[in-house]
Point group: C2
Chain length 222, copies 2
Amino acid sequence: MPVLTSHIQENYLKALYHLTADKKEVTVNELAKKMDLKMPSVTSMMQKMADEKLIKYEKYKPIKLTDKGRKMAGLIIRKHRLTEMFLVNVMNFGWEEVHEIAEQIEHIKSPAFFNKMDKMLGSPARDPHGSVIPDSSGNIREEVHISLSDVAMGEGAKIIGLAQSEDSFLRFLNSKNIKLGSEVKVLEKEEFDGSIVIEINKKKISLSSKVADDIYIKQEVK
Amino acid sequence: MPVLTSHIQENYLKALYHLTADKKEVTVNELAKKMDLKMPSVTSMMQKMADEKLIKYEKYKPIKLTDKGRKMAGLIIRKHRLTEMFLVNVMNFGWEEVHEIAEQIEHIKSPAFFNKMDKMLGSPARDPHGSVIPDSSGNIREEVHISLSDVAMGEGAKIIGLAQSEDSFLRFLNSKNIKLGSEVKVLEKEEFDGSIVIEINKKKISLSSKVADDIYIKQEVK
DNA sequence: ATATAAAATTAGATACGTCTAACAATTTTA
DNA sequence: TAAAATTGTTAGACGTATCTAATTTTATAT
């Protein structure tokens, strides 16, 4: 009898989902790095998941999610993001505290539990970090993201999402008082390292390109 | 690398806790039945848990929890019962719906999560089924329970707890409109099968001894 | 007190998910 | 395009938790 197989496959599905978001496929090596595993472990699981029709996989070829696999991944991500929203809005956690807890709760098997969350929250469209919550079938309408790095000098923008929700990153944003919904203006752009200087809450702040890349914005309509 | 060892040992600890509640010790056979496992599986785990000083165990002898083991069990039960309280009081689940969900959430590793629950609930002393919630060190003051079966004919009593929280049992109580806090009066007692007839909400209801045994009461002070 | 029944243990197998080491295929570079 | 580097697979091992089958110990009954 297995010992919580699903839990583990769910983590593979999530990683596959994120890694295939743009290029539609991912290599064994990339997946192994993302999951902090060795390549043979990944190869072996890919063979299993291919048998279960969760992925499309042929020897030496990049891996793709099937529609079934993508939906299943979407359902897990839905549970993760609903949980984050619940933790922030109902239980009053800070947005930097919720990722770790949601990583665990996303594996809970109880549709009723997540339906209740969804209802209590009024079926939110996004999680506390601005990411879209997949619908109850696991489908998600992926969006084209515009980074703070893409904003031209002198232009204004509103922060609407984040590319990652590591707590270190979120604590950094907290320390600069950067939140979802904050209005910013790009004052300077350094060519050689991509760093930028922005104005936010009437203060000047310098951000590395690594940070600016991971902040999604909506262009200001003037 | 292990695959969720703790999760499994936690379930053993819980079962051990419940089975040793009265007699202070339990046999391999009883534990195997409770957990729906075969005896060799249990023997093997008992050897492991004895090494870890969670239980006191010698070949062919009954199993006892060590203080360490009992505290760890208490902490898991605390998480379970806090969760049940949270599900009922915050998320508006019925008391018959929460056990299954709590079985899963009790394994979440996040003191902050359960501390927040505890705070939101005002540090409740009991769960929705009247069971005492262990303190944050895993200690529990066990009580002497008086069953509805122990009440003499003609006497009144108030329902304050349950010996089990199977959803089938709880749905049965729901159907009879029996709740925690309900006032009852014992009208008749059948000698041969231990069944009783009570008055509750001005209605007469007959209960088997199996049911009456599992309902804890407080004697009415007249 | 001995035979029988029940309980418990040991031995050895299986499933799962991981790993290392060895080898094979593919991609990059010179 | 050949050599080198990288990526990927296979083979085989390990740890965990389970199982069945066989054996041993303890408890029960006559």
